[in-house]
């Protein structure tokens, strides 16, 4: 079956026509129960569809841009987000169905198509519900208000004498009098103008429902994207195909910073299906009729490269020595309270430790890809990039064409947890399509993805702590260096890889950032100091940093929460008890009156305490200091605790590990996560997201490291770059959903983010569990067998 044949019948022109034309009927559309998100992909063989541009931005001030009610009393929601496989699309339907009072089963949600859905920026920052959920709720509530007004006119009775449920309005006094939303407005425009200074503030005049009146929020309907992903009918960006489409493959510089001297096109010209070699600066691609032909030709193409005169970076085994010795390019303003040096000097016990986290990559299971179609003077990009709106603007800027002529259709794709190379592939496909005047599909090969995708920055963290004579923490000093200079943003026309390789990058590199752990501990003397360092080569390098799921969080928290554990062990206090003392301010009596603290900190702290307690209870945590008693066999068991918050979401985690003292293998056997993200929309989808986020962190804790020599990345496939496998899977995972709000029944309980918070503390929890099991403290990620064995030998285990 061709992708065009399985496309939804909502055609792009009719939707755009609807948005600008009053009173038009929407034709040929029915929202099927449990339908997958509908994908109005253009049938590009009909030039009329592709020629139907330009593609103006849907106006978020128009209710019709967000919601369409159909004659059969179904509803379609149009939102500017993308669902990367965490169930956000289903959750949007839940919150909007509740506010609209429409049956959930009779709704569908279209996401991330820049010409059809309002620009909510796509996904990122775990903000889908925390930020974007609010305008979605308000517009749905506004639609309900307007429909009730229409019902009032229809029956000639005041609104307060009407009831509404599942899209059916009933006269309370005479339930035989009913009218459906579809009968009132089906297929026609609301014509209602909304207000709000920006899209996040979009609102009508209706009020939102109290949480207690919500029917679908808090339940777990099955995710609507799953059936199509299971039966093979899902629409993927990787499947996008139109007639006349060509296949391209990149030829990357063999070493970082290399430049093209000469290309011998005759090396591939006679190959079957050969179309073109495209080169600009150091960007090189081969284009062929068929995919396997493009792969073969890209491998065969003879390119002479000039190696740079100086090494682009230190080898990975020398990375931390380099980071320690180099002068920072940026030092952030320190966060400080009290007098750290005086407190350390006066402490009864001083502790100092250094932690190291290497570069880690996205290494997506599906290498970056996109397809671009330049038919009829327009440009349509089929992409899984989670920020389709930014991709559109960036490409328009890069190619120098009006935004209105460019659209991005978001389709399912692999593993989009941050700034992936999907950004880069989108620009490359668009560039090649414009250059050749034909539709071009590009996909990176495995070695490109591993070597050249964006990386989470390497971290070197030094911590110092001081305990008083009673074991109270009186001083805590955190100093981090992050290799994050020239951190890439999303879809920037002057930082994407093709902009760098073609010499069109911006003058000034981004200064980059670094983070401290996020906790609500009360420490009287505390300082957090963060620096950014740069590698020698800034542009055209595979060691380019970009957001990787919970950017900086796992690195900073590994150091911070490991060190808290070291302090607890030094004080011979149970690690949970130690943290509770820090959270409640019992230690030092500093936080004796929590209401003295700013509201937000008090609010987060209350929820932090609730999560720490909930995790300990769910695990069956018995208080004792670490390390625990050591068994006599090869397998040593231990448990570790760590906690953090991300924005307003709080997580407390416990890892139980089994360490093989002979082989050094670590198995995280059991996980507990207490998770408070406020109002839970879909508990089951949330639990799965949290489980998967924790396993992502196990993979980063145990396996993942980008290695390189002084000129190229040497982790280039799944052999050289180990990842978590089925063998590592925990035996048991408990996710406890906590509502630690000081006023848990408040009718306006907010919904916070959940995609990333659970990634944050787990690396530390695992390190703490290894210490608990063995008495050996591992301060360098990943905890691969050799490193574990060496750590055990160092303490004679």
């Amino acid at each position: 079956m061709r992708i065009d044949d399985i496309l939804e019948t909502v055609s792009t022109p009719s939707r755009r026509e609807f948005l600008k034309t009053s009173g038009r009927l929407v034709v040929g559309f029915t929202a099927a129960a449990h339908a997958a998100p509908l994908v109005p992909l253009a049938g590009a063989q009909t030039g009329a569809v592709q020629g139907a541009g330009p593609y103006p931005d849907p106006d978020f001030h128009q209710l019709d841009s967000w919601i369409v009610i159909h004659q059969d009393n179904t509803a379609t929601f149009y939102v500017g987000k993308t669902d990367l496989g965490q169930g956000t699309g289903t959750a949007f339907r839940q919150i909007m169905s509740d506010e609209l009072d429409m049956a959930f089963e009779r709704t569908t949600c279209i996401m991330g198509h820049t010409d059809l859905t309002v620009d909510q920026g796509g996904s990122g920052g775990s903000d889908a519900l925390q930020v974007d959920g609010w305008p979605m709720r308000r517009v749905a509530a506004e639609a309900r208000r307007v429909l009730l007004d229409m019902g009032s006119t229809h029956f000639g009775v005041p609104v307060d004498r009407l009831a509404v449920s599942d899209g059916v309005i009933t006269v309370k006094a005479d339930p035989s009098k009913q009218v459906t939303y579809g009968e009132l407005i089906g297929g026609r425009r609301f014509g209602v103008t909304l207000t709000g200074r920006n899209i996040n503030e979009t609102t009508g005049i209706a009020t939102l429902k109290p949480v207690q009146e919500m029917k679908y929020v808090g339940t777990s309907p099955q995710r609507d994207d799953i059936p199509a992903k299971v039966n093979g009918t899902a629409k993927w960006a990787v499947d996008a195909k139109v007639p006349g489409m060509l296949h391209a493959r990149n030829v990357k510089p063999p070493v970082a910073g290399a430049s093209v001297v000469r290309i011998d096109e005759s090396s591939v010209r006679g190959m079957p299906g050969f179309v073109a070699v495209v080169r600009e600066g150091n960007y090189v691609a081969v284009v062929c009729e068929r995919e396997e032909q493009a792969i073969a030709a890209a491998r065969r193409l003879q390119v002479n490269w000039r190696t740079p005169a100086t090494a682009p970076f230190p080898a990975s085994e020398d990375l931390f020595a380099y980071m320690r010795g180099t002068k920072p390019t940026r030092t952030l303003d320190p966060q400080a309270n009290g007098d750290i040096e005086a407190a350390l000097a006066g402490a009864a016990v001083r502790l100092e430790a250094e932690y190291e986290v290497p570069f880690q990559g996205h290494t997506s299971i599906g290498p970056a890809h996109a397809m671009a179609d330049p038919s009829n003077g327009q440009l349509t990009i089929y992409s899984n990039d989670m920020k389709s709106y930014g991709l559109r603007s960036g490409i328009a800027e890069f190619l120098g064409i009006p935004r209105e002529k460019v659209r991005v259709l978001w389709l399912h794709g692999p593993q989009a947890y941050g700034r992936t190379a999907a950004d880069d592939a989108g620009f490359e496909a668009a560039y090649l399509a414009q250059k050749l005047g034909r539709p071009v599909r590009v996909q990176w090969m495995r070695d490109e993805e591993h070597a050249w995708d964006t990386k989470g920055p390497a971290y070197l963290v030094k911590l110092r702590g001081g305990l008083d004579a009673r074991g109270n923490l009186v001083a805590l000093d955190y100093e981090a260096r992050a290799a994050d200079y020239c951190h890439l943003g999303y879809n920037e026309h002057d930082t994407v890889l093709i902009a760098q390789l073609t010499g069109r990058q911006r003058q000034e590199a981004a200064e980059g950032g670094a983070s401290a752990p996020s906790d609500t501990y009360v420490v009287p003397n505390r300082r957090s100091l963060m620096h950014v360092v740069s590698l020698p080569l800034v542009w055209e390098t595979p060691l380019r940093t970009g957001n990787l799921r919970d950017p900086n969080g796992p690195q900073a928290t590994f150091a911070g929460e490991s060190f808290i554990d070291e302090l607890a062990a030094e004080a011979k206090v149970d690690p949970v008890e130690f943290r509770l003392r820090l959270l409640t301010g019992q230690m030092n009596g500093v936080g004796r009156v929590l209401s003295d603290l700013p509201d937000d900190a008090g609010f987060r702290r209350a929820r932090s305490i609730a999560c720490v307690k909930a995790a300990a209870e769910a695990y069956g945590w018995r208080p004792r200091p670490s390390p625990g008693p050591r068994g006599g066999g090869d397998l040593l068991a231990g448990r570790g605790f760590a906690y953090a918050y991300r924005n307003q979401t709080v997580v407390a985690q416990i890892a139980e590990v089994e360490v093989n003292r002979r082989t050094g293998r670590v198995w995280v056997k059991r996980l507990v996560c207490a998770h408070d993200c406020g109002l839970v929309v879909n508990p089951q989808a949330l639990r799965h997201t949290v489980e998967n986020a924790m396993l992502h962190s196990i993979s980063r804790a145990l396996h993942e490291e980008v290695t390189f020599d002084t000129e190229k990345v040497t982790t280039v496939d799944w052999r050289t770059s180990p990842t978590l496998t089925h063998l590592d899977t925990p035996e048991r995972i408990d996710v406890v959903l906590v509502n630690g709000d000081p006023n848990p029944n408040r009718p306006d309980l907010p919904h916070y983010g959940a995609g990333e918070a659970a990634c944050k503390p787990l690396i530390a929890a695992i390190a703490n569990a290894i210490y608990d099991a063995t008495g050996a403290r591992i301060r360098r990620v990943p905890f691969r067998p050799q490193r574990v064995v060496a750590a055990l030998e160092a303490v004679r285990v």
Binding site: M1, R2, I3, L84, G85, Q86, Q222, R223, D225, I226, P227, K229, V230, N231, G232, A234, W236, V238, D239, K241, P272, R290, E291, E292, I295, T363, S364, I365, G366, P367, H412, G413, P414, Q415, A416, Q443, M445, R446, Q684, H688, T689, E691, N692, L695, H696, I698, S699, D717, W718, R719, T723, L724, T725, H726, L727, D728, T729, P730, E731, I733
Partner: protein, 155 residues
């Protein structure tokens, strides 16, 4: 280029391709079967898995000319509109996140359960280990395989 005839999902299909072409590209680009997906091209991850004669096989490293036997792709796993028990278990356990690798996970599970209808936990881990998931849905996958094995028993 040469004419080659394959039996795929119960149908005979003839394609005109270079015999050395990996089966993956023939299925995806010539036959428009999009279940198998490119992951590594090296046989290391399993995203491209298909069944050949019932055995899970990596189509990215299998030349189309070497294919002997019936090819089943994810697209052809359901019979008469009814999902395969493994597919149903995947929905019941709500397994996929992004879903890109799940083709390989499901077909490898089908192959495992054909050989061993009641695998132990250790056997499931062992058999599934070569199929990678970078959304890390392994916990749910293993639950789904156990569920499917139970369902197969009651049939």
């Amino acid at each position: 280029m040469a004419n080659l005839t394959l039996s795929v999902n119960g149908q005979r299909r003839t394609v005109d391709v270079d015999p050395a072409t990996p089966l993956l590209y023939v299925l995806r680009n010539d036959l428009d079967l999009h279940g198998p997906r490119f992951g590594c091209g090296l046989g290391q991850c399993g995203a491209c898995t298909v069944l050949i004669g019932g055995t899970a096989t990596r189509s990215c490293v299998t030349p189309v000319s070497a294919v002997k036997g019936e090819v089943t792709t994810l697209d052809g796993l359901a019979k008469d509109g009814k999902l395969h028990p493994v597919q149903q278990a995947w929905i019941d356990e709500q397994v996929p996140a992004c879903g890109y690798c799940q083709n390989g996970q499901m077909l490898t599970a089908v192959s495992l359960l054909q050989r061993n209808p009641r695998p132990t936990d250790a056997q499931i881990r062992e058999a599934m280990a070569p199929v990678l998931c970078r959304c890390f849905t392994y916990y749910r996958i293993q639950a789904a395989i156990k569920r499917a094995a139970g369902a197969a028993q009651t049939v």
